[in-house]
Amino acid sequence: MNDMSQILKKEPEPAPGEALSAESLPAKSSPVLRFEAPPSTSLWAHARYIVTENPVTGLAFGLFALILLAALIGPSIVPYDPLASNTNAALQAPSRAHWFGTDQLGRDIFSRVIAATRLDFSIAVFSVALVFVLGGLAGVMAGFFGGWVDKLVGRIADTIMAFPLFVLAMGIVAALGNSVTNIVLATAIINFPLYARVARAEANVRREAGFVQAARLSGNSDWRLLLTQILPNIMPIMAVQMSLTMGYAILNAAGLSFIGLGVRPPTPEWGIMVAEGASFIVSGEWWIAFFPGLALMIAVFCFNLLGDGVRDLVDPQRRN
């Protein structure tokens, strides 16, 4: 829920008459600097600029690479089997043998934290991909077609929003059963309004855009307009949305595991590891909860910063 701002962005709907006959002369925007025919900038060069110009964004991209690496090859490079218990070495503080210490069953926390990356990352990616398809499409259709489609999507989104989202996610997972698939589904559902609204707003402003009208004149049907004109143009905004909600998706999944829903033991997952370690904090074995919590935080942190970075990357105003 990093950018809740997006959800409720109110755009006053212009009265129909006004929309068409508005003082439509080109109000030349503030003339600070405008260069004719901007020189072309390649996406790559622009990306490099974004990364180097803002150290924080650079850091985020670096972290993201690390997370991706851990998710891809993590389980095969960790020093210990993340599932193997060793009760003789239980509850050891961080040491050279166990960088992050060991847990109640003597499992190596470092190995578990790294191995958990893949699951947490997958949950985030899949839930975001799912909601992107569902919410994005629904929102675009609502914004583009208006009318009853808009009303329907709006109602669905409103209904979901009226739920306390985390509790709704809990309810869904509890009702459908304790599984990773259902965590993904629940996370996707609670993010639906966010995506639907952003997509709706973006599609709505583009519905009457010149290039859409022009495409209409070219004989494109509504569906084709939607797919070739509207959808590609709101992709960048949706991409920003995606990287921002990735972090939230991870937090949500971790929250669910924390209260005992979702991931099954002994699968390593950050949320469940924090939950397991929580009861040990008071007795001084802080590392059990701390390192998974830290990993969780870093991942979410990274995705949030990444969101800003992606925003900079796709924002045409920042292109020059």
Partner: protein, 337 residues
């Protein structure tokens, strides 16, 4: 204005109906057998069936739904199995606690986030901007349950600065007469400064936990909206008219920038009510969040339904309030009604 409120209320009816239906279905799909729970351990299948009949659980779903809605219209939310009390009474008793905590968290977050966001926007691109971004993002990246645990460990267990996380009031302090349900206010009304201090010190850690979490959206929104406003033509006019920086930022930019922030605040508030679930668990806060979690774990329908419904109604009320507030700030909205 009244007309606008009425209209807003009308538009929320469908989503409330949606909430009722979804909640009902969801709770019925929940695994767990209420009748078995009621019958207690060692009950015979017949006894369970008997109780199931008594609770109406053997009826087809539509019939159950109708009786549920009928009861609902009478203001009856059913009975909680875990507390054994009518849900309405439970919620009425616990709601103020959640509301007080959430409000405190929100106010705290605003007190930090608004200046931070404004500062970041005014000094866009400076180190302060970067710092603000990192701090806010780090805050929202911390899982609330983790923050809460950490704060308790450090401030109560290690340092002993804050009182035991035992809920709203020290065990040996006495509760003020319940006027508003908000302890801080009630304490003041009762002129009990010592009690106020006690309640306040209990409130700090959970409120901080919530505030840390809600810092990011408010800061982000304030910054973004401030940036947009600072780039607006009327700010340029104000500058070109020689108004002081303070006047330009305070009177001209800030108030305009608040418009989208107010909308965000509503979102954040209802979101925090949800996040409360975890915070209340950590701090033994007797609010409705922890109530709902426990009910959910126990497959206790009625409290979940009651909780969700309460939240939905609060969400609607909140948005209404925000619309009104919006109207106070923005004459354009006010005069339309």
């Amino acid at each position: 204005m009244l007309k606008m409120i009425g209209q807003r209320l009308m538009t929320t009816i469908p989503s409330i109906i949606g909430v009722i239906i979804v909640t009902f279905l969801l709770t019925r799909v929940l695994p767990g057998d209420t009748a078995a729970y009621f019958a207690g351990p060692a009950a015979s299948p017949q006894a369970i069936a008997e109780i199931r009949g008594k609770l109406g659980l053997d009826q087809p779903l539509p019939v159950q739904f109708v009786s549920y809605v009928t009861a609902l219209l009478k203001g009856d939310l059913g009975q909680s199995l875990t507390t054994g009390q009518p849900v309405t009474r439970d919620i009425a008793a616990r709601l103020p606690a959640s509301a007080e905590l959430t409000l405190a968290g929100l106010i705290l977050a605003m007190a930090v986030a608004l200046p931070l966001g404004v500062l970041a926007a005014v000094k866009q691109g400076s180190w302060i901007d970067h710092l603000c971004r990192i701090v806010a993002t780090a805050g929202v990246s911390l899982p609330v349950f983790f923050t809460g645990l950490l704060l308790v460990y450090v401030f109560y267990f290690l340092l002993g600065w804050s009182p035991a996380p035992l809920g709203r009031l020290d065990v040996f302090a006495s509760e003020p007469p319940g006027v508003t349900g908000f302890l801080l206010i009630d304490m003041l009304l009762a002129r009990d400064l010592e009690g106020f201090r006690a309640a306040f010190s209990q409130l700090i850690l959970p409120a901080v936990t919530l505030a840390i979490f809600s810092l990011a959206p408010i800061t982000r929104m304030t910054r973004a909206s401030m940036l947009a406003v600072l780039g607006a033509d009327f700010v340029r006019t104000a500058r070109a008219s020689g108004l002081t920086n303070g006047k330009v930022i305070g009177t001209y930019a800030f108030r305009n920038a608040m418009l989208p922030v107010v909308t965000t605040l509503g979102m954040v508030f209802s979101f925090l009510l949800g996040a409360n679930v975890l915070v209340e668990k950590v701090f033994a806060w007797p609010g409705i969040g922890s109530y709902a979690v426990e009910a959910l774990i126990a497959s206790d329908y009625a409290p979940i339904q009651g909780f969700v419904l309460t939240m939905a109604v609060m969400y609607v009320a909140l948005n209404l309030m925000i619309d009104v507030l919006y109207g106070v700030i923005d004459p354009r909205v006010r005069l339309e009604g």
